[in-house]
């Protein structure tokens, strides 16, 4: 098969291509595939499986929190010595929390989200035959896959998986004597993370170079759909911040294995004073959060991009304030590099710097607010089709608001003193980056499933899935705010030791049952997803009447995306319900000359020749300003 993407499309090339097509074997097509659509599917399905695993872990520790004194023999059968007497071991509880966070943040919401939709949509929405470097793209997936396997394998280590929290703050993570979860499991965690970052960098470089170099004719930057803008900026964020994490991780590996003292100083543990002197645990926090904070935007921005596209398409309206949306994404991208210190207000960092970080942090709320208002304005006077994707996109907006607002509390250094490391934080980020991002991902899956698999998903099961998940997410995370306000710290194995905390037991039970409901609801999704791949209704070419380029490709996939020439783009992607046009959408490939009745002055971007032709046409057709008609 041809291993190189065909940058420009000539009939010759295309013929070569279809000949090569027949030689594909199972291995080159489904396993070591270099086709961006297949790689996207690989990322997606791996991401879904990892997501289900991480959700399962969360149910395990939720059961512990709801029934701290109860024994569940089943747990002992499943987990062996990690749950002696049917009760979770405190150290294993911390491992569960750690691995749940790691998998969700990195493997599901970074790789599963960006990996899937950047790979799928960048070439398809920009009009490229494939990614800039398909081979590197394939490597990116396999590095990711190895990272996943390595992370999961730690459950089979005697001392258990890494357990120092997903932020693995040293010295806890650096000293195997401090907890079992800092033994071999932590070594594996670190190696897995290095592989993951390698994967993410290869992906990111590919996305950026494809966006910059391989757009089809007419697709200038300001005609790109917001999805692409989001993926593009996300990739830049990742490229600039992930290497810092690797640097931090490598130093931690040195501290753990080679006796250096980057993060360690003045430690006395297990009856022995350690030789390390001169290091600082705070250094790790700086390095970690220099990635860690952009990371939460790496997670949420693709979700915002997807929801922009889904909301515009299904409201049958142009996204409100396209330019403002792009500029706010750019603003978030830039600002996200200078806010990391808000995770460290009470870590002993110089309080004055804390004040500075607080100012930058609250500024970043402005572009986020603009995005929210623009979503609302897009829905206003729309003609909303409630596809499951649209439901999830609206759900995202709701979570983004609720979770974003609590960020204003946490970004305020003074308020953070009492909220830091409590359940308020857990509630905040599970809404704003957990639930919102996963809803963005689900919206994307429902919306582009027809593009990925050529089949439709069952809409009614989608509705069921949405309403159960939406309700469950709020039921789980809303009460947590109040626990946080009562000073209940996160990562506590049980709240039985404190009278003030044990009165939250009934709330904890409620949360656990809501979480179980939410988890069960995902069965509806999983069944829908996997059965629709094989038995779903066959999709039409453009099932959502969408404007973007991916819907001009044939339903049956082919390597190279378009059978003939790559289409040319003439307009922005959001000409929905344009007055004067008969249908409520005009694909990007429709030239202005075919839509004389609906062209608006700014469509011509100052092209005088075109304006003159339009004026002439208007006079000939006695065209009344058509906006009036629609009202």
């Amino acid at each position: 098969m041809s291993t190189i993407a065909i940058p420009n499309s000539t009939a010759m090339h295309h013929d070569d291509h279809s000949h090569a097509h027949h030689k594909e074997t199972f291995i080159t097509k489904y396993i070591f595939s270099q086709d961006h659509k297949m790689i996207a599917k690989q990322f997606l399905i791996t991401g879904i499986i990892m997501g289900v695993i991480a959700m399962g872990l969360s149910i395990l520790f939720r059961i512990q929190l709801a029934y701290p004194d109860q024994s569940f023999p089943l747990l002992e059968v499943l987990l062996g010595k990690f749950a002696p007497e049917g009760r979770l071991d405190p150290n294993f509880y911390l491992s569960l929390v750690t691995i749940h966070g790691t998998i969700m943040v990195f493997f599901v919401l970074t790789a599963g989200l960006s990996g899937t939709f950047s790979n799928l949509l960048i070439p398809l929405q920009l009009g490229a035959r494939d990614m800039a470097s398909p081979f590197m793209n394939m490597l990116s997936y396999w590095f990711f896959f190895s990272a996943c396997m390595l992370m999961l394998s730690t459950f089979f280590i005697e001392s258990g998986p890494a357990g120092a929290g997903w932020t693995i703050y040293p010295p806890l993570s650096a000293l195997p004597k401090a907890m079992p979860g800092s033994g071999l499991g932590m070594t594996f965690w670190l190696i897995s993370m290095v592989l993951f970052v390698a994967s993410s960098l290869m992906g990111g470089i590919n996305y950026v170079s494809t966006v910059l170099n391989m757009r089809t004719k007419g697709m200038d930057l300001w005609k790109m759909p917001l999805t692409i803008w989001a993926f593009f900026l996300t990739a830049i964020l990742g490229i600039l911040s992930f290497p810092v994490l690797v640097a931090g991780v490598v130093l931690l590996i040195f501290d753990r294995s080679f006796g250096t003292s980057f993060y360690l100083s003045d430690i006395y543990i297990a009856g022995q004073a350690q030789a390390n002197e001169g290091g600082s645990p705070i250094l790790w926090q700086h390095l970690f959060w220099f990635l860690g904070h952009p990371e939460v935007y790496i997670v949420i921005m693709p979700a915002l991009g997807i929801s922009s596209e889904v909301i515009a398409t299904n409201s049958r309206k142009p996204i409100f304030g396209y330019h403002a949306m792009v500029y706010s994404l750019i603003g978030i991208t830039v600002l996200s590099f200078i806010v990391w210190g808000h995770h460290m207000f009470v870590t002993g960092m110089n309080p004055f710097i804390g004040g500075v970080f607080m100012i930058t942090t609250l500024i970043i709320a402005v572009p986020s607010a603009v995005k929210t208002f623009n979503y609302l304005a897009t829905l206003w006077r729309g003609n909303i089709r409630f596809t499951p994707a649209m439901l999830f996109a609206i759900g995202l907006v709701s979570f983004f608001i609720s979770g974003g607002l609590t960020g204003i509390f946490l970004g305020n250094a003074a308020l953070d003193i009492n909220l830091h490391d409590t359940y308020f934080v857990v509630a905040h980020f599970h809404l704003v980056m957990g639930s919102a991002a996963i809803f963005g991902m689900l919206a994307g899956i429902y919306h582009w499933f027809p593009k990925m698999f050529g089949k439709m998903m069952n809409a009614k099961l989608g509705y069921l899935h949405f309403w159960l998940t939406f309700a469950a997410a709020y039921l789980v995370f809303f009460p947590m705010h109040f626990m946080g306000l009562d000073g209940v710290p996160r990562r506590y194995y049980a709240f039985t030791e404190f009278e003030s905390m044990s009165r939250w037991l009934s709330v904890n039970k409620f949360i656990t049952w809501a979480a179980i409901l939410g988890a069960t609801a995902q069965v509806a999704f999983l069944y829908n997803f996997f059965s629709s791949i094989f038995f779903g209704k066959k999709a039409t070419q453009n099932p959502w009447d969408s404007n973007t380029l991916e819907w001009t490709t044939p339903v049956e996939h082919l390597h190279g995306n378009w059978p003939g020439e790559i289409p040319t783009v003439y307009r922005w992607p959001y000409d929905y319900s344009k007055p004067g046009h008969e249908e409520d959408f005009i694909p990007q490939t429709t030239p202005l000359s075919e839509t004389m009745s609906s062209n608006l002055p700014h469509d011509f971007e100052g092209n005088e020749e075109a304006e003159r032709i339009q004026e002439k046409w208007n006079v000939e057709h006695h065209n009344i300003n058509s906006t009036e008609e629609v009202k």
Binding site: Y30, L74, V77, D89, A178, P180, L264, D266, I267, Y268, I269, A273, G279, S280, P281, I282, R316, K317, F320, G321, T347, G348, P351, G354, M358, I359, V366, F373, L376, W380, R381, G382, N383, I384, F386, L391, I394, S398, I401, S402, L405, N412, A413, A414, I417, T422, F453, K460, L464, F470, Y474, F478, F482, L485, D486, G487, Y493, T520, S577, V630
Partner: protein, 397 residues
């Protein structure tokens, strides 16, 4: 999909066979465990029971789905439009979700909100509380308004075939407003927060010196608290001395520093009301977080680096018991930074009392450096004279 090639009956059957066999094996194993231990006897039954229950729910949902499908099909056959208008149904669901959700939020605010921390027991804590209230009011207003708009739009503008959406790509004036207004509100919050924060953390040298000095050392999984004694200065520590003096020196006090000799060892933090206290925090092993939520106090304990928190308690424990109407109320210190297996159980008692009570309590506290320690230290110093070089090693034991 080409993958369908691989989905023929044979491969499906073999897949089922594999899954079935492995399930059987797992069950056998579970049964093995069950035979060995009596308490696991009903386990298989229980799992089967729950699985069956789940299957019943699935079948029920499937049946409902089929009924809906049949209903829609018959409608279509009768020539009516596509049966159920799902756009409308979902729109109505959003309206319901709005009402139920807002009521739920209100319920949560009032019922669960009543369970949160009582008003702050410290001077700066009251400032934090009023800051919190301002932020809460602003965010709640935004939360309610945006959700009303979001869900009402979803309800009101659901799809109708005849209608066309309003083409409204942008409006620079509106966009300017909703960029500038949040920016102004946030600026106000930032300024308020910044000054509150500086007020808490920026303590002048005089204030530092006049406060009661308390030194807290965290380790897995307890707190060691040392009051500065008469000179109001804590003596030097060195982590290499921890466990020296025959194991008596649990903090690694450097006995060559005379300031150590009047320091007090306490089992409870007792603070006089309306007097500043300055905590110097440290850790012997991993990160811990010194968290006293009732005072709105939190600061991490970092090995190798001292951190500080100075504040003034304003409400005594007795007064707080009255205020909260809870005779068992106690101020608490616990750990808020993940620190290992028993992170969840690092309690230390805190009591705020009148100045008089404090004085009498203070007098009763024992010295940190006991006579035994002094003896050991003198012994070690003798060795020191004999073999000056070995001294460090001796102290390290």
């Amino acid at each position: 999909m080409d993958i369908k090639k691989y989905m023929n009956k044979k491969s499906l059957l073999s897949l089922f066979a594999i899954v079935g066999l492995s399930l059987q094996q797992v069950m056998a194993q579970a049964a093995g465990v069950a035979e060995g231990v009596d308490k696991n006897a009903g386990l298989g039954m229980m799992v089967t029971y729950y699985l069956l229950m789940f299957l019943v729910v699935c079948v029920f949902i499937g049946i409902v789905g089929k009924v809906l499908q049949v209903y829609e099909l018959t409608k279509q056959i009768q020539g009516k439009k596509n049966g159920i208008a799902w756009d409308k149904v979902n729109g109505v669901f959003f309206a319901i979700a709005l009402v139920v959700g807002l009521y739920g939020a209100y319920w949560s605010y009032t019922v669960q909100g009543a369970q949160i921390l009582p008003e702050a027991g410290s001077e700066h804590g009251s400032k934090i509380d009023s800051m919190f209230n301002v932020t809460l009011i602003i965010t709640t207003i935004v939360f309610v308004i945006t959700h009303i708009l979001l869900f009402l739009f979803a309800y009101k503008y659901n799809y109708k075939k005849k209608r066309k959406a309003y083409f409204y790509p942008h409006n620079n004036t509106i966009e300017k407003y909703w960029t500038i207004i949040p920016a102004i509100v946030l600026t106000v919050l930032v300024l308020l927060g910044f000054f509150t924060w500086r007020g808490i953390t920026n303590v002048s040298k005089d204030q530092m010196a006049s406060a009661i000095q308390i030194d807290v050392t965290a380790h897995q999984f307890a707190w060691e608290v040392r009051y500065a004694g008469k000179d109001n200065e804590n003596g030097r520590k060195n982590y290499k001395l921890i466990g020296s003096l025959n194991g008596l020196n649990n903090l690694g006090l450097d006995l060559s520093d005379k300031k150590n000799y009047d320091d007090l060892r306490v089992t409870e933090i007792v603070l006089p009301v309306n007097k500043s206290v300055r905590f110097t925090l440290g850790s012997q092993d991993v990160l811990h977080s010194f968290y006293m939520p009732h005072f709105r106090v939190q600061m991490n304990c970092v090995p190798g680096m001292a951190t500080y928190f100075q504040f003034k308690p304003t409400v005594t424990t007795a007064e707080m018991r009255e205020k909260t109407n809870d005779p068992n109320f106690n101020y608490l210190l616990y750990c808020a930074k993940i620190c290992g297996g028993s992170h969840y159980n690092m309690k230390f008692a805190v009591r705020v009392v009148s100045e008089k009570e404090y004085e009498s309590w203070f007098k009763e506290q024992k010295l940190y450096v006991t006579d035994d320690m002094k003896k050991e230290y003198q012994l070690a110093m003798k060795d020191n004279v004999v073999a000056n070089d070995k001294n460090k090693i001796a102290l390290n034991n």
